[in-house]
């Protein structure tokens, strides 16, 4: 029974302590604020008082000593000085430790606090001419070992508590009022406030009749797991509701329509209610920061003013939990690395006090949190040096980086600029962790730093991860969802008024109530083909708000608003900033949710940097593509060539004398085999071989090949984007590597050239190898049987992840067969798979789906499927596969 009292005690203590840190830091600034002192004193006093009831002697003693000091301060007998406050904070920390231990083990942890208590008592005695007069008896009261007599009686009913909790090893389960307590002190204000308003209205006569109905009965604490479960269930309910609405649409006569419309209303209310239970003000995540900043300032001898604006901004508790640690880290960074010491600041003409400003506000369906300091900013040169020292980038990369690119290096794993490891920084957590954490919950981090003036980090996180209201639109025959929060208005542009869309330079604009609204053609942004290019159809402009600005998205059709359940986008799409998620509509269709801010960002890039468009495009796409290790070589005719390092088996230097001629082909004895050599240089510009000839050795299974090069230049980590513009034989195309146009070697071409028979034989004789990515066991067997019957060798991957592992591992497949139903959205990486680990060869991808609507088929094709087939016609499947291979072979000229 007493467990319940203990839990209540823990809960209220955490709540109160959460508020305490902020109050104490404020107290240091306003030492004479009696209200503040009273409140702090009361918190500790309450803890101490309750300890007596529950028989928590260790905690009671610490709380008592701390309370004594605070009492002296309150009575004006002791000065509120920084050292005194520090000691009080030590006391509070110990109280927290004891509470945490108590929470975990059900008993007071065995911490020795004698020394701390002694120091607190000494401090208290400074303010007291006759020390310990009132302190002594109380300490005896709560210390059972010291004076068993007086304690035995008062504590008796609770004394059985420890044994009880021994008997019930999991004291947290089976509770009715409290299920799980937060380990950290959150939820301070809202609960108290709610209780208070509730109590005010609880004056009705019938409440009087029922004497037991009182404050404590009006608020309950609920396990967060229960809230999460509720949220999930509501999500499912919303989807079902949407499906029902879809079913009765256009059938107002239906006898279901009335109950469904009621269900609709109730579901909406329920959803709002559940969402509300999960919302918390961001101030809860901030409450520890004033204390943190204060402690950091004392450690680093800096002066920092912490401003917190928008603490009341609410967001979902899961989101709130996720940002706590990253926020703490950023604040720590700002004080430690950002803000200068008072002396330096004075020299620079700044105020001695640095300012660290936290701001939170809503923007669209997001919460924006800014951490701004007016410190020294990020020194790009120093970051660059460190990054080079730590081997994060190469000299070559460094040379071409812009300042903002350099600043972004601080988000790289392993990066640290701290000159020395202090107790503040250098704890092994870097900004990369901050970014990873934020991105994990669908947020983004932006960094903006001006050297000498300060740094602003802007975090954008979704308000909730669960359900949003969205407008469904159509563009290029595909449906998309736009979060309703960002939508300001909808404008229909009738076909005959199209001329109202004007062009200024390259920018389309629309005159909306005497204001020029910049327009973005959604179709163009998303790279979709125009559906019907009739100029005489109406257009729609969705006016959206992005930050301070408004802009219009041109779409071909606007449908209704729906409550949608947000599912995250796949890993591969994550960096494409135009989508913020996917969802399932009432009719079962999967559609993408647009990220309006991302689209606007893209637009502003385009419009501001038209002159450097090519450059910007390059940077942008490079940011999105994983860097590849590339070997760069040169030939005698001064061509630069590159090849993915993963394809290279060795770099050798053969003595000229070891190279033999056989007819018109060069060979060298290499590891017991004859290695055919090919000179990459144009035959006209070839000179004699070097004494020690550099050779790049490739191998593909049992066959190997050496390419004679002039020089091995470098190994670079760069995103490989091959442009096919200047395709010449033996290359896959040209890529810009390290700022220079470089041909990418087609190793397959040379392997074929040196041994055409081998390749042909291999291609014809070998059994076709098929990678089948199907989750459903039943369907898998169906496919396997069909394919094996057709003479293919089948490898099964149950999941996309498994398939990727196989491809990554270099397992050889001639085609990939994939089930689009029930797979996660990562199917969008299809085009990626075509080449993955294939040595440059592009293998066909066949996708099977049970869905019949053509949009979905189109989107699969857009993702890289060569053929989309319905489920399931074995004949059609095998024919398609054979056709695809035939086409490939013919286009390569291998088969006639």
């Amino acid at each position: 029974m007493e467990d319940e009292i203990l839990q209540e005690f823990l809960a209220e203590s955490w709540e109160n302590l959460g508020r305490l840190d902020t109050e104490i830091v404020q107290l240091e600034r306003e030492p004479s604020n009696l209200n503040l002192l009273g409140s702090i004193f009361r918190t500790i006093h309450t803890i101490k008082g309750t300890c007596g009831f529950i028989g928590l002697s260790r905690l009671g003693l610490v709380a008592h000593a701390t309370e004594n000091v605070l009492g002296r301060m309150r009575d004006g007998r002791l000065e509120v000085s920084p050292p005194a406050v520090s000691l009080v904070l030590d006391g509070i920390d110990r109280i927290k430790e004891l509470l945490a231990g108590l929470e975990e083990g059900g008993q007071e942890p065995n911490l020795n606090s004698n020394e701390l208590i002694h120091r607190l008592d000494l401090l208290a005695s400074l303010g007291d001419p006759i020390p310990k007069v009132s302190a002594e008896p109380e300490m005896e009261l709560v210390e059972p070992e010291a004076t068993p007599e007086p304690v035995a009686a008062p504590v008796e009913p609770m004394a059985s508590k420890p044994e009880q909790s021994d008997r019930t090893p999991a004291p947290l389960t089976g509770m009715t009022e409290i299920s799980v307590l937060e380990p950290a002190p959150v939820m301070a204000e809202p609960v108290v406030a709610a209780v208070r308003t509730a109590a005010d209205t609880n004056e009705s006569p019938e409440a009087g009749a029922d004497g037991r109905k009182s404050v404590a009965d009006l608020s309950i604490r609920v396990n967060v797991d229960v809230l999460d479960l509720l949220m999930n269930l509501v999500g499912e309910l919303v989807l079902t509701r949407n499906q029902l609405l879809q079913l009765v649409r256009g059938e107002e006569e239906s006898r279901f329509s009335a109950p469904i419309s009621l269900l609709n209303r109730v579901t909406t209310d329920l959803q709002e209610g559940v969402m509300k239970t999960r919302m918390q003000p961001i101030g809860n995540a901030w409450s520890k920061l004033p204390r943190l900043v204060r402690d950091l300032c004392r450690l680093t001898s800096k002066m920092v003013e912490l401003e917190m604006l928008g603490a009341e901004t609410e967001l979902d508790r899961t989101v709130l939990d996720a940002i706590k640690d990253p926020l703490t880290h950023m604040v720590r960074n700002s004080v430690d690395h950002g803000i200068e010491s008072p002396a330096v600041r004075r020299q620079m003409g700044k105020t001695e006090h640095g300012t660290l400003r936290l701001r939170a506000y809503h923007e669209g369906g997001h919460v924006i949190i800014c951490v701004e300091d007016d410190g020294k900013g990020i020194d790009a040169q120093r970051v660059l040096r460190k990054a080079l020292d730590q081997g994060l980038i190469t000299e070559v990369e460094a040379a071409s980086m812009s300042d903002s690119e350099i600043q972004k290096l601080i988000f790289r794993p392993g990066f640290s600029t701290a000159e020395q490891i202090t107790s503040v920084s250098g704890r092994g957590v870097g900004m990369d962790v901050v970014r990873t954490e934020i991105e994990r919950i669908g947020g983004t981090v932006e960094l903006n730093s001006i050297f000498g003036q300060g740094t602003t980090i802007r975090i954008k996180i979704p308000l909730t991860l669960a359900i949003i209201s969205a407008l469904v639109v159509e563009s290029g025959s595909i449906h998309f969802a736009i979060p309703q929060l960002g939508v300001v208005e909808l404008v229909r542009v009738p076909a005959e008024e199209r001329k109202r869309i004007e062009r200024i330079h390259d920018q389309q604009v629309f005159r909306l109530r005497n204001r020029l609204l910049p327009l973005i053609e959604l179709r163009e942004v998303l790279g979709l083909e125009a559906s019907t290019q009739d100029d005489d159809v109406d257009l729609y402009i969705v006016v959206v708000q992005v930050g301070e600005e408004q802009l219009g998205l041109i779409v071909s059709e606007v449908f209704d608003t729906q409550e949608i359940v947000v599912k995250p986008v796949g890993r591969l799409l994550k960096d494409i900033n135009v989508y913020q998620g996917t969802t399932i509509l009432g009719d079962g269709r999967v559609i993408m949710i647009l990220d309006v801010a991302g689209i606007a960002g893209r637009y502003s890039n385009n419009s501001n940097q038209t002159t450097t468009a090519a450059n910007a495009g390059r940077n942008e796409s490079e940011d999105q593509i994983e860097p590849t290790s590339l070997l760069v070589v040169s030939t005698e005719d001064d061509r630069l060539l590159a090849v993915p390092l993963s394809l290279v088996s060795r770099l050798e230097e053969f003595p000229r004398t070891s190279i033999e001629w056989s007819g018109d082909r060069m060979l060298v004895q290499y590891r017991g085999h004859l290695l055919p050599l090919v000179n990459l240089a144009d035959s006209r510009s070839r000179g004699p071989l070097r004494d020690l000839q550099p050779v790049v050795v490739f191998s593909d299974g049992s066959n190997a090949l050496g390419l004679i090069v002039d020089q091995i230049k470098d190994i670079l980590e760069e995103p490989l984007i091959i442009r096919n513009g200047t395709k010449r034989s033996g290359t896959l195309g040209t890529a810009v590597i390290d700022g220079k146009a470089t041909d990418v070697i087609d190793t397959q071409h040379y392997l074929k050239m040196t041994n055409p028979n081998w390749f042909r034989r291999e291609a014809q004789a070998s059994v076709r190898r098929l990678l089948v990515v199907v989750e459903s066991l039943f369907f898998r067997q169906l496919v396997r049987t069909a394919c094996e019957a057709a003479g293919f060798r089948v490898t099964i991957a149950e999941t996309v992840t498994r398939a990727e592992e196989m491809l990554e591992h270099g397992d050889v497949f001639d085609a990939i067969l994939c089930d689009a139903d029930g797979q996660d959205p990562r199917l969008t990486q299809l085009s990626d798979w075509a080449r993955k680990g294939s040595g440059g060869e592009e293998r066909p991808i066949v996708v099977l789906t049970g869905a019949e609507f053509s949009e979905f088929h189109d989107s699969l094709r857009a993702c890289g499927a060569d053929v989309v087939l319905p489920k399931f016609d074995p004949q059609e499947l095998t024919t398609s596969l054979k056709d695809l291979w035939h086409q490939r072979a013919r286009s390569k000229g291998v088969l006639s």
């Binding site: 007493e2 005690f9 309750t50 008062p154 109590a199 004497g211 009182s214 404590a216």
Partner: protein
């Protein structure tokens, strides 16, 4: 059946006290500070006794006590001040202001029931 109002800013203390009164067949009301206690008192004139904590936010116990005792329109239940050593020196103030009894925190069930008997509530 008697009605008792518990005024304390600690939920844990209220819960513990409620437990102690569990067998006494009382109707129990709660308030978490003096001002809330005033509201409850106004709407529950049947309250027989108040267990009143001293140190609370918004309105502390002694202020509540003085407010109640000086307002003739309010019901006048028995009031037991629950004090710790910190307020002990001021206990005379409370008694002079109209408290009927005082009890040292932390109290036991026995002592509390005894005090309530002394003020004639049980």
């Amino acid at each position: 059946m008697k009605t008792i109002l518990l005024v304390d800013d600690s939920r844990a203390v209220r819960l513990a006290t409620r437990r102690m009164l569990g067998q006494s067949n009382c109707s129990i009301l709660e308030a978490e500070d003096g001002s809330e206690a005033l509201t409850v008192l106004k709407s529950h004139p049947e309250i027989d006794a108040i267990l009143l904590d001293w140190n609370m936010p918004i309105m502390d116990g002694i202020t509540f006590l003085k407010t109640v005792r000086s307002d003739g329109h309010l019901p006048q239940p028995k009031i037991v001040m629950c004090t710790t050593e910190g307020e002990f020196s001021r206990i005379m103030d409370a008694l002079q202001s109209g408290a009927n009894e005082y009890i040292m925190k932390p109290y036991t069930q026995e002592i509390m029931l005894e005090k309530l008997q002394e003020v004639g509530v049980l």
